[in-house]
């Protein structure tokens, strides 16, 4: 508030000061010119009439006295006439008649034979000295000295300044009052925005808000709407997730129930049947376990503050370890698991998570492969990133499904899901881990030929 007052006042004060100073200078200049003109004319008259001559007509002298008196009254000043002997012959103050003038300005005038004027700021007066001589002649008959007070200008200037400041204060007060009321009006649309948002928060409103009064409010409401949409979609996906989870969790339980019921319902079931059914139930329990484990992993990654346990790790050896762990599974399916293009590279990563991510990819490559197929794992790197690709010659993924494979619980064609084990969370988890590392994952696939997953991870995580 105070800042406003100061900002309001200062330019005004400066403006007033400038204008007032300007007025003073101008007024003084004008006065000087006016008086100088009068003096000039008077000098001419004196010179041509020869009033200062020793034998001049006394009438002329009287006329001169009167003229000088009039002039001095009009301009509130003092006029002196100095003759060629430097004697003061006329003085409208009647103080110095017949005295000798030794004034610097008079002497300068006699020497230079030119008119001169100056303004004494401290003592507040203008002085003009004009030579009395016939035009064309070089003979100085005398000098006319006019002193005019400028106090009236100083006083007017002061008065103007005071008025100016007064006006400014009034204007500032007015502006403040106006501002207060206007401000209220101007801010109203923003208040509306606040209310709209509060309504949505409280649950009264379910739709997008709109306050189009200002561009700014429009921008705010649009941004809010976008956020709302995103929150809604997140909410929706969460609901979807919960329903998916419930569904997935129920499936093994349903199978188990069926098996258990059928065992219970029958009489005299041979032991082999019991053993077979128990085996099936165990598989279902394992399956349920896997789902829950994966879910937990998923959820842990989901939390916004999922932290990366960063350490500098040699990627090649990490991949080798993963490959080594999966060899038994590959062998079972008679798939050849090969690491290609190994060049050691160190990067700043979370070893546990990335191992899991690559493990998922390689496991998938094995699972969705053909008998006697192959899986190639390649590691490359440049100055900024390292690149891992996992390629297989397996079943492939149809193009229309390639986008959806990273979704949770998505398992491609139903025909595959029944024969190949899996929770449908593996790729979702992998993608989360890659994204946590600020990396990129892409898929290339052709049905019947194979699939290649490409992962790119930055070597350093900037904090």
């Amino acid at each position: 508030m105070i800042v406003l007052i100061v900002i309001g006042l200062i330019p005004g004060i400066i403006a007033t000061a400038f204008i007032v100073r300007d007025y003073k200078q101008r007024a003084i200049k004008l006065r000087t010119v006016n008086v100088a003109n009068q003096c000039s004319m008077l000098c001419n008259t004196i010179a041509t009439d020869g009033t200062l001559a020793k034998d001049a007509d006394p009438q002329l002298k009287e006329e001169l006295s009167r003229e000088l008196s009039m002039l001095s009254n009009v301009y509130n000043g003092r006029l002196l006439v100095v003759n060629s002997d430097f004697i003061i012959t006329e003085d409208t103050y009647e103080l110095d008649i017949n005295k000798t003038s030794m004034s610097r300005e008079v002497i300068s005038c006699f020497k230079s034979k030119k008119e001169a004027s100056y303004y004494d700021r401290e003592n507040e007066f203008i002085e003009i000295t004009a030579p009395i001589m016939k035009t064309g002649s070089d003979d100085m008959q005398g000098v006319l000295v006019a002193s005019v007070s400028t106090t009236e200008f100083e006083q007017t200037a002061l008065y103007l300044e005071r008025q100016g400041i007064l006006v400014m204060i009034c204007v500032t007060v007015l502006v403040l009052i106006l501002g207060y009321f206007l401000a209220d009006m101007l801010v109203r649309p923003f208040r509306r925005v606040t209310h709209a948002i509060e309504d949505v928060t409280d649950g009264y409103e379910n739709e997008a808000i709109s306050v189009p009064d200002y561009t700014e409010t429009e921008q705010i409401t649009e941004a809010f709407n976008r956020m709302l949409a995103r929150v809604r979609s997140l909410d929706d996906s969460r609901q979807e997730f919960v329903s998916d989870v419930s569904h997935e969790l129920k499936t093994p339980l349903t199978s188990m129930k069926v098996l258990a019921d059928s065992l219970n319902g029958q009489e005299n079931v041979p032991i082999e049947i019991y053993q077979e059914f128990m085996g099936d139930i165990t598989k279902e329990i394992d399956r349920e376990n896997d789902i829950i484990t994966d879910l937990l992993t998923m959820v842990r990654m989901d939390r916004k503050n999922a932290e990366l346990n960063l350490e500098v790790v040699e990627i090649g050896s990490m991949l080798e370890a993963v490959v080594h762990r999966l060899e038994p599974i590959a062998d079972k399916k008679r798939v050849r698991l090969i690491m290609l293009g190994y060049k050691p590279v160190k990067a700043e990563i979370d070893q546990t998570k990335l191992s899991l991510a690559f493990s998922n990819l390689i496991e998938n490559a094995i699972k969705y492969n053909v008998e006697d197929g192959w899986v190639h794992v390649t590691l490359r790197w440049d100055r900024k990133y390292f690149y891992v690709s996992v390629a297989d010659c397996g079943l492939g993924i149809p193009e229309d499904q390639q986008e959806r494979i990273f979704e949770r619980f998505y398992r491609g064609d139903v025909s595959h899901s029944t024969t190949i084990e899996g929770t449908g969370l593996g790729l979702a988890i992998t993608r989360e881990i890659v994204m946590l590392h600020r990396g990129v994952i892409k898929v290339d696939s052709t049905v019947g030929e194979g699939t290649t997953f490409k992962v790119r991870i930055p070597l350093h995580q900037e904090t």
């Binding site: 002997d85 430097f86 103050y93 000798t100 003038s101 002497i107 005019v148």
Partner: protein
């Protein structure tokens, strides 16, 4: 221990005070001695453009009278220290001799013949500078010029008057210091026995007291036709001061010496009444001649007591017919 410490500090303080007192006394004595022993005046030089006078301090020492005059004469002929100035007298012009009439407070200066050949503007400044310089010497109030033994004249051959400090006018720097006011002046009646009142509107320089202007106007004389000047026109005012309601007016010798045949009270009460009537804050006026109040005016009126206003002398019938507003 504590006692000893306090005592020492007290002693120290006393010593300091004592020293200060002694120093102060000594200085005063010195100052007084200084003032008595040496006089400082100002010698005037010219600026290089030869348009105005520039004063420089000059120590006269303890010289007075003719000795002082000679010293100043020498100084005027010397080159100034400041390079932006030149000495007053141009080359070729010099003071040949001087004559001091102490009873008349008058100094006559005789210049060489080349004085008359000086350029007019230079001559005016030389005149003013010389007069002003010499008038600072105690006892010199008037200066008379001679050129080559003869009375100095102006360009038209008219004799130059005897000059004093007031003969020269510098710039009216304080034009705003001039105020217009009404004064009551009491001049002598035509028969010299009474006083006649004249009201006037005059301008005066506020740097001098109003009483000064009053006496000045009295000396200048009346404007009305049935009044006569009460003071001799050769009178000059040496000083006018005011204190505690008493105005001290110091006039030159000619106040007494230039006799006129009017009643003795007239000149005195002309001054007293004028001042008391015009200046509200003044009740009494003390006159003195040449600084000496113990003189007698016309052998029977002593001036050693201040006078109070006495309206009995004033002619009641007429105010002067010209109550003109002169500005």
């Amino acid at each position: 221990m504590k006692m000893k410490y306090a005592l020492r500090r007290l002693l120290l303080l006393l010593m300091v005070i004592l020293l200060a007192a002694l120093y102060g006394c000594g200085k005063e004595a010195d100052d007084a001695a200084d003032e008595k022993d040496t006089t400082k005046i100002q010698i005037y030089y010219l600026d290089r453009g030869e348009t105005y006078l520039r004063p420089q301090d000059y120590d006269l020492g303890d010289k007075t009278g003719k000795a002082a005059v000679n010293a100043v004469q020498l100084a005027l002929g010397a080159e100034p220290d400041d390079a932006s100035e030149e000495k007053l007298l141009p080359d070729g012009v010099e003071i040949v001799n001087t004559e001091l009439e102490e009873d008349k407070f008058r100094l006559t200066i005789n210049f060489s013949a080349s004085y008359a050949e000086m350029e007019k503007t230079r001559e005016v400044l030389v005149r003013a500078g010389v007069v002003r310089t010499f008038c600072q010497i105690d006892g010199i109030r008037y200066v008379r010029f001679q050129v080559d033994g003869k009375e100095a004249t102006d360009a038209d051959g008219n004799q130059l008057n005897i000059m004093n400090n007031d003969s020269f006018v510098e710039n009216a720097k304080q034009i705003n210091a001039y105020k217009k006011t009404h004064v009551s002046l009491y001049f002598a009646s035509a028969d010299g026995k009474h006083l006649v009142k004249e009201m006037r509107s005059v301008r005066y320089n506020t740097s001098k007291p109003l009483a000064w202007a009053v006496v000045d106007r009295l000396i200048a004389g009346p404007q009305g036709k049935n009044a006569v000047a009460s003071l001799p026109s050769s009178t000059s005012i040496i000083s006018v001061t005011e204190a505690d309601g008493i105005c001290y007016v110091n006039l030159s010798q000619s106040f007494i010496t230039d006799q006129s045949d009017m009643a003795a009270e007239v000149p005195i009460y002309s001054i007293v009444n004028s001042i008391c009537d015009t200046c509200r804050e003044v009740d009494k006026v003390q006159l003195s001649v040449e600084g000496n109040p113990r003189t007698y005016f016309r052998t029977d009126i002593s001036l050693d007591q201040p006078f109070e206003e006495d309206m009995s002398l004033v002619e009641t019938t007429s105010e002067s017919e010209s109550g003109t507003l002169s500005s």
